[in-house]
Symmetry: C2
Subunit: 491 residues, 2 copies
């Protein structure tokens, strides 16, 4: 089984694709750019989604649902927004099919043309702010703290499973506030919620920062982001949180009367993470034998495989293992006992390795006699014999240890891949030979940013929060700079 995966060294992009498809996470569909998320991959997403949802609710948000379609004219109302989103999108122009009178099967009915085209939402600021107009009159209606779990569509030309697909699943928070300060605090709070989730549940360290003007969300005043590092040294934007100022309130005329009965436009934020996170998860932890999934979000945390000859041995093992599995389930551990007999243990081992199940337990007749089991970790591939007595507690502890180890390993890798450089030569050399984040001075202009991108394909991933202020000169132009920013090539 594991032989079928392309190694990272050989072809990193192909390795990634192999993992996603052979690890049973997702597959291509018959519709260009759209993927099918398979049961195993979807359970992973459910675990991520449920935890994020809990965190959103703990911070006072509730879910709602807004229409899939956005009238074309809505997109034009916020000037920057239309530039960013109206270009590549799915456009609904008709509402009926009919039998071709000339016998050519079913065709679009030309008489069923919509007066105004509808866009399948690429993001929902416009339809939501058009709705908020009816919901907000007074400061008493604020803050409005709403999140939506939804599918969105962006007609990407080059797609990759999870990382960039025409349709993807995400959540988009859309909040409304009485003051600028409150909206900024909300945008920052959600950035920290994302960082907390990605670090503590996905075991993936992130750098928190703000985007430069050119990398901002279309319509935002300020875009906060978390940036993670993949094993090939490329960065991945894992989540963004936007302070939108009064841009959308002005575009949709959403005003409120404050305590002194003065009318003002409402302040806004929006923030989102998507199924793209799964792409980052795969690339951050996995190895040449398959997926490596952090226990806290793994669909399966433990798999138990019996080693036996003949039905009698199997029956004895079955009894004991069902007891262990029941104990594990009671302790909240997601466990599967795979005693199917159409595959040998070796095949099963490879299969669950491929799928990244954190802990594998093998039990044979001799183990039973000795009151032990063989426990293998997916992350380090270490195996050890463990006593069956109290094995549930030992497994729970091991799962936590694996979770921590994955984070520590990813953090060590990330920290080893932040390189401070002070010249253009060093900059180019680091990008090509070592990759990762490159910390360098930049003169603060969009032109320089663009020029660096053209020359190296590296972009400014972010200006870290609480960034150290220091005198320096721009690596490209030699102009004065007051702080370093983080460059990287990115997904």
């Amino acid at each position: 089984m594991s032989k079928e995966i392309t190694s990272r060294q050989q072809d990193y992009a192909q390795w990634y694709n192999d993992l996603v498809i052979k690890g049973d996470l997702a597959d291509y569909s018959a519709v260009r750019g759209c993927m099918v998320i398979k049961p195993y991959g979807f359970t992973l997403w459910e675990n991520m989604r449920d935890q994020l949802d809990r965190m959103f609710k703990e911070t006072g948000h509730t879910n709602a649902y807004f229409p899939l379609f956005i009238p074309k004219s809505f997109l034009s109302k916020e000037a920057a927004h239309v530039e960013g989103f109206a270009k590549e999108c799915a456009v609904v122009t008709h509402y009926r099919l009919k039998n071709d009178p000339d016998g050519g099967g079913i065709v679009v009915d030309p008489e069923a043309k919509l007066e105004e085209e509808l866009i399948v939402r690429p993001t929902s600021e416009t339809i939501i702010w058009n709705t908020y107009k009816d919901w907000i009159q007074s400061y008493r209606d604020l803050p409005l703290l709403i999140n939506q779990w939804a599918n969105v569509v962006r007609w990407e030309m080059r797609t990759r499973l999870f990382l960039r697909t025409a349709e993807f699943l995400w959540q988009e928070g859309h909040t409304a506030h009485a003051t600028s300060e409150e909206a900024v605090a909300e945008a920052e709070q959600m950035l920290h919620v994302y960082a907390d989730f990605v670090e503590n549940w996905m075991a993936l360290p992130v750098i928190r920062g703000v985007k430069t003007e050119s990398e901002r969300f279309a319509g935002a005043v300020n875009t906060y982001c978390i940036e993670a590092l993949m094993q090939d040294g490329k960065a991945l934007q894992a989540g963004t949180s936007h302070f939108l100022g009064q841009n959308f309130a002005k575009a949709f005329d959403v005003r409120f009367s404050d305590k002194d009965n003065q009318l003002d436009y409402v302040w806004a934020t929006s923030w989102g993470v998507s199924t793209r996170l799964i792409g980052g998860l795969v690339m951050a932890h996995s190895d040449d034998d398959g997926l490596v999934l952090p226990p806290r979000i793994a669909p399966l945390q433990v798999v138990i495989v019996p080693i036996y000859k003949g039905p009698e041995q199997k029956a004895v093992i079955d009894v004991k293992v069902k007891e262990i599995a029941d104990q594990c389930k009671k302790a909240g551990i997601r466990v599967k006992y795979d005693n199917s007999d159409h595959a040998r243990p070796g095949w099963k081992f490879a299969e669950y390795e491929m799928k990244g199940v954190p802990v594998r337990i093998a039990i044979g007749p001799r183990d039973l006699e000795n009151g032990v089991a063989e426990v293998a970790r997916r992350d380090t591939k270490e195996k050890k014999s463990m006593p069956l007595d109290n094995i549930t507690a030992a497994i729970a502890a091991l799962l936590e240890e694996i979770q921590q180890n994955l984070f520590d390993k990813a953090l060590a890798f990330r920290d080893a891949h932040v390189t401070q450089v002070d010249s253009w030569d060093e900059f180019e050399k680091t990008l090509d030979e070592k990759a990762g984040f490159v910390s360098a001075h930049w003169d603060g202009t969009g032109e320089t940013e663009e020029a660096i991108k053209d020359k190296t394909k590296a972009t400014i991933r972010c200006i870290p929060l609480q960034n150290k202020q220091e005198e320096g000169v721009c690596i490209l132009t030699g102009k004065p700079s007051r702080q370093r920013v983080l460059f990287a090539r990115a997904y």
Copy 2:
């Protein structure tokens, strides 16, 4: 507040609309036929969805996700299916907008026309069975038990919030089996899961049955359904489960090799319930003062309103109520303490009555002195004084009592509205004067069914499961009949 609701007597349809909008469940959107599900309504849906999801998982199903778009040609592959679904649908024809060269804003880019139009899914059998083709080779791959939570679009000409909207949320189960018997058993199992959910969680009694040929799902061999009765005597189809035979397997060439290595087409089911259930819930239990929600799925089960004069009294009540609210939360009760001071108690009472919160507790200084609280039930409007000692257990019991009472009341109403008739005159008279289900003999032909529908607007809701077999004559044609069926006017 309650004065603003149209009464049932006055205008039932308007009463329903008032409840949905003023009860904060949903609202119209700027997109024709699409609704916005508001936070309160969405929390209700989440409670319903989460329970259904648990029931699906307990019966061995897992979730997955398939594309929003269906290539036009897929719809044509199953002949009956295309007749049923291809007609009124949202058609994506282009994938790009551009700035109008003549300055007319943004327009569809004629150069970005899709080679094949994409249909926004009205249901997903076709795209899913096209995918199953790759997933199923052997009997070992079966059964495949998958569910999807998704948004779907059917371009309805006349829409009503929740009951019939262009876009709605639903779940669709799609399973694949090695034998016809197994698929039939699955379709029946899911019908019973739906009935269990609707009766025990939504407090709404249903009749389980099968549809006549003309009312079958487009592409099904047999459609099972649950039918509920609304307060105006109209029936509402609350859920359907379809045995699809080998129709979709043949349309998409999905074959498997059985244990004897023989190739055969796979057997299928599909089953779904949607946000339409919320419409049924509203119409079944509510009254002229607002929504009445069953405790098990109510977003809020208990609201506590303080009665006070001045901040000192309030402070004392706050302390005691927070203690009670904490106890309730620990016991898993969804409780809100509304001590906001921009509304008087009377206004709050009306507001929570409108929203259908099952239990309202009012506490004033004298109650505190006496160690009691005033507890009001939303369903019967009864109020009584309850001791604060151990009030959590008393409330938990009361919530169960309310749940049961709602079901009993709806069941009594339903049972009083199943009328057995044996002549055409009786049939018409019953439909007009009493409404509800009418149990009558029918000659079994589609022509007669159609004629009855044309004359009375009543349809055959179902042939009940385990229907009594008896000799009789058709109420319309006088031809022989072996069983009664249930007619009703329906939503």
